[in-house]
């Protein structure tokens, strides 16, 4: 059963996203960090539960897509819905890259070598 559900040809993308074709939120990217909130799971579909199960620690949407074999655009839509219902939190508001991020990356890279 679970093997069948993993086959992208068996479960079309619009079924996985309950018919949604684009994320309900703007500003989500493949590197948006999310984390599961402590909320009851009832009422959630299988796809949403699978996502929540791997979000106990901070994780980005691209990692979720890869670990669950979901197309990245599907992962964006499912995560967006779970942020809307409060099942997922995002630790920092989505931000456009600014100079402070560039400085942090630069300092971090320099510290490695």
């Amino acid at each position: 059963m679970s093997a069948l559900r993993r086959d992208p040809d068996m479960v079309r993308a619009y079924v996985r996203t309950r018919g949604h074709s684009s994320p309900s939120r703007d500003g989500l990217t493949l590197t948006t960090l999310v984390r599961a909130a402590d909320r009851p799971l009832h009422g959630l579909d299988v796809e949403a539960r699978r996502v929540l199960r791997i979000c106990n620690g901070p994780i980005v949407i691209a990692e979720i897509a890869s670990l669950l074999d979901l197309p990245p655009t599907v992962a964006l839509i499912v995560v967006s819905g779970l942020l809307d219902t409060g099942h997922l939190n995002t630790p920092a508001p989505a931000e456009q890259p600014d100079i402070s991020v560039i400085e942090e990356v630069l300092n971090g890279l320099r510290a490695l070598v």
Binding site: I54, P91, I102, V105
Partner: protein, 200 residues
């Protein structure tokens, strides 16, 4: 099955609250996946996005418009740079054709480091054009394999018709420290550019 996956996955430290993304681009065989693997602290992960395209083929027996399914695959890696910041490196797909999915790769990226193999310099033109068109900051790193002919970086700059301010550096994508130095050169360039923007 999912629980197996999640227990195998090396999670970020719980203190991490910020992420940054740099694209690693280049023509086929330039060494993108190698560089991502050299710098990543986890085994690089892969995702695939199905792309449906209208097909104009005439071999459709039903006489109905047919669609072909292809996928855009990309690999990415991760390096935790401080207790609160993780850097993600996305190897961008080899094909240069623009698809809507590229928006997801571009969105939120600091910039793109374009790897170049000097034996196939002309193959880089389409990749560079893509970033120029999109206005995403980019730099060039010449991937110097053992035995490959060494080029003067100014020669490479001229051959690729790059502006004087675009950073051109070199690295051995197989080597972690060398790859990190190339990233440092690129991020220093991004830093200089954004400071200039702040001043202007």
């Amino acid at each position: 099955m999912d629980s197996v996956l999640s227990s195998e996955h090396q999670y970020l430290p719980t203190t991490v609250t910020r992420s940054a993304k740099i694209l690693i681009a280049g023509h086929f065989g330039a060494g993108k996946t190698t560089l991502v693997g050299s710098v990543s602290e986890i085994k690089p992960l892969r995702t695939e996005e199905p792309i449906t395209e209208a097909s104009t083929g005439i071999d459709d027996l039903a006489g109905l418009p047919s669609k072909t399914e292809t996928t855009v695959a990309f690999d990415f890696g991760r390096r935790t740079l401080s207790p609160r910041l993780a850097l993600y490196l996305f190897g961008t797909p080899g094909q240069n054709r623009f698809t809507p999915f590229w928006e997801h790769l571009f969105h939120g990226a600091l910039g793109a480091l374009v790897l170049v193999d000097t034996r196939r310099l002309q193959d880089s033109d389409a990749v560079l054009a893509l970033f120029e068109e999109r206005g995403l900051p980019f730099g060039v790193a010449v991937n110097e394999w053992d035995g490959a002919q060494r080029f003067d970086l100014d020669e490479v700059r001229r051959a690729l018709a790059l502006d004087d301010d675009v950073v051109v550096t070199s690295c051995d994508a197989r080597d972690e420290v060398s790859s990190i130095h190339a990233l440092i050169a690129f991020v220093e360039y991004l830093h200089r550019s954004s400071r200039l923007e702040c001043l202007s």
